[in-house]
């Protein structure tokens, strides 16, 4: 009797946990399908090659936003990558260094800071002194977002390498910096690239830090010191606009952004396997 009740409870719980999983996956599946179905119609030649039409007029495209996304994100990756890699290598290769304790704390804490605060930070530190919105300030905000991700990923990858690798190098008489540059970093290349790409994917989807830094720009611009557009920003602006054609293009931009992020995530997974 008791046994039967225990079996029954076991079965019921199986149903419950699978039901819970369905609750997680179903709405999220709907979102993906909906983004695809609504966005695919907006992706045409004009979408990729034309600047936006004036408000209310149909037509136009996303060229400035697409270009801007790449410019802003790559500048951010250059800055965030340098600082994050430096911090990560110091934590993993020089465990005795006194800066490691505060560095580890910062890696933890900075990862939990809301993205919009990076935007406020870049506004105060870059936009105000330079006297205007700029792509560069947006990159600074995104770089701060990337730093803790890159730092933690780098440290983790380097720590997984066996100490014997370093010892072999040192036994050959190599100085420590050569060991790090010629043995450790090449061996960890795949994992480091994965960390960089994941940080890039994370930052590329963010609109909040760009609202009052890169600001947005309806014209094609390559000037890092002027305002620049980006896909997440454009999605936000178009989504809350009253124009039907803009809303249609917002779905297209959302689909394009999701596809770009999926490709980046896929490349990140591949890099670690090699």
């Amino acid at each position: 009797m008791n046994l039967r009740r225990r079996y029954l409870r076991d079965r019921i719980m199986v149903a419950f946990v699978y039901l819970g999983t369905l609750v997680v996956l179903l709405p999220l599946g709907f979102i993906l399908v909906h983004v695809f179905l609504s966005g695919v119609g907006a992706l045409n030649w004009d979408f990729f090659t034309k600047p936006p039409a004036p408000p209310g007029e149909p037509g136009g495209g996303m060229l400035p936003a697409i270009v801007g996304t790449f410019v802003i994100d790559l500048m951010a990756l250059a800055m965030g990558g340098a600082l994050g890699l430096g911090g990560g290598v110091l934590m993993a290769e020089y465990p005795e260094h006194p800066l490691n304790r505060p560095l580890r704390l910062v890696a933890n804490v900075l990862g939990g800071v809301p993205a919009i605060l990076m935007g406020l930070f870049a506004f105060v530190v870059v936009v105000l002194p330079m006297g205007g919105f700029s792509a560069f300030s947006g990159s600074v905000a995104l770089a701060v977002l990337m730093i803790p991700i890159i730092m933690r990923a780098t440290e983790e990858v380097l720590r997984m390498l066996p100490w014997e690798l370093r010892e072999a190098g040192l036994a050959l008489g190599l100085p420590r910096w050569r060991v790090t540059l010629s043995l450790v970093l090449p061996a960890a290349k795949g994992g480091i690239v994965t960390g960089l790409l994941l940080a890039l994917a994370r930052a590329a989807g963010e609109a909040a830090p760009l609202l009052f830094t890169a600001f947005g720009n309806s014209f094609l611009s390559f000037d890092p010191l002027g305002p620049m557009d980006s896909l997440p920003l454009k999605i936000y602006v178009y989504a809350i606009s009253p124009y039907e054609d803009w809303i249609r293009q917002a779905w297209g931009a959302a689909l394009l952004l999701v596809l770009l992020l999926m490709v980046t995530n896929y490349l990140a997974r591949r890099a670690v396997r090699r």
Binding site: R9, V17, A82, L117, V124, V144, I235
Partner: protein, 314 residues
């Protein structure tokens, strides 16, 4: 001699470079907190720290500012989203780590990771054009009409059934933290040693009893820390909430009515802020948001260390 120079000098230069970069990281983090504090200082000076934090008046015309409505909005929406998300995300984690056959588990885990990578604006876009009409027509209006007929006292609590407001924002927020909370819980469950499960099976336990008596207690530190980290994520979530919550800092809030969070008021008003005090007040709200998210992250860290079984994670 030359080799020695090569080693000594190279080492010195290389460490100097690494230290410079590390100091850059530390400098950025310190500067972030410092600039928000300095930027918000005029508001704290004008109203007092507690006066600003606890005052519920936010008026750009009369230049009276207080962060209380946004603080309440942030705490209420994130806590509600977390309550909604807790059991489904735990269930999904249990399925992936314990119940599902290997292949199915991998697919589900992959999907959940994919969904965690979806940008906030995409959730917001979907929320505005799919969720809001759905919720308005099939949940809010029927409930409102019902309460108008049978329980007029409830109407004030429910608020205007427009679809844009706290209820929709909480739903989307819950969806957004589901995959994140779930993947953290999954990692915690995977750390449970196999021997623990096998010992329980050897005693004749059913699968659910193994999960309930061994896996969940063993992984509780990681699971709760993950929950608190998901809460931190919800607190800082900006775009989707801004697009759905209606952005009104008028207390008292109602269930369906518009509200505002700390992140949403910054996103919504910052570019339009005129007057030094308005800008300073928004920066001060940012500083309070920083304090809140730091506190929540430290709590997560504490839980992970205190509640973990055995040595825990490093």
């Amino acid at each position: 001699m030359k080799a020695r120079l090569y080693g000594k000098l190279g080492d010195a230069l290389f460490t100097a470079l690494l230290v410079a970069l590390a100091l850059g990281v530390l400098g950025v983090a310190g500067l972030l907190a410092w600039e928000l504090w300095v930027g918000g200082a005029p508001a704290f000076r004008a109203f007092g720290f507690w006066g600003f934090t606890l005052s519920s008046e936010w008026n750009a015309v009369s230049e009276r500012f207080g962060a209380w409505p946004f603080l309440i909005g942030t705490v209420v929406t994130s806590a509600a989203a977390l309550i909604l998300a807790f059991f489904p995300s735990l269930a999904a984690a249990i399925v992936v780590a314990e119940y599902a056959p290997r292949r199915l588990g991998e697919v589900v885990a992959y999907l959940i990771d994919l969904l965690a990578a979806l940008p906030s604006v995409v959730y917001g876009l979907w929320g505005i054009f799919v969720l809001v009409p759905l919720v308005r027509d099939h949940v809010e209006q029927p409930l409102f009409l019902w309460s108008a007929e049978h329980a007029p006292a409830l109407m004030g609590l429910l608020g205007p059934p427009t679809g844009i407001g706290m209820f929709s924002a909480v739903l989307v927020l819950a969806l957004m933290i589901l995959p994140y909370a779930s993947s953290l819980a999954r990692d915690a469950i995977r750390l449970v040693p196999r021997e623990q499960r096998e010992a329980m099976y050897a005693l004749g336990a059913t699968r659910w009893e193994v999960v309930r008596r061994v896996v969940l207690p063993y992984a509780r530190g990681g699971i709760f820390a993950g929950v608190v980290l998901a809460l931190a994520r919800a607190i800082g979530e900006t775009m989707a909430v801004t697009m759905l919550i209606g952005n009104s800092g008028q207390l008292p809030y109602s269930v369906f009515g518009p509200a505002a969070t700390m992140a949403s008021v910054i996103a919504n008003e910052f570019t339009e802020a005129e007057g030094e005090l308005h800008l300073a007040s928004l920066l001060a709200v940012g500083f309070l948001l920083l304090l809140l998210s730091l506190a929540v992250n430290l709590i997560a860290d504490f839980i992970l260390r205190r509640m973990s079984v055995g040595e825990g994670r490093k």
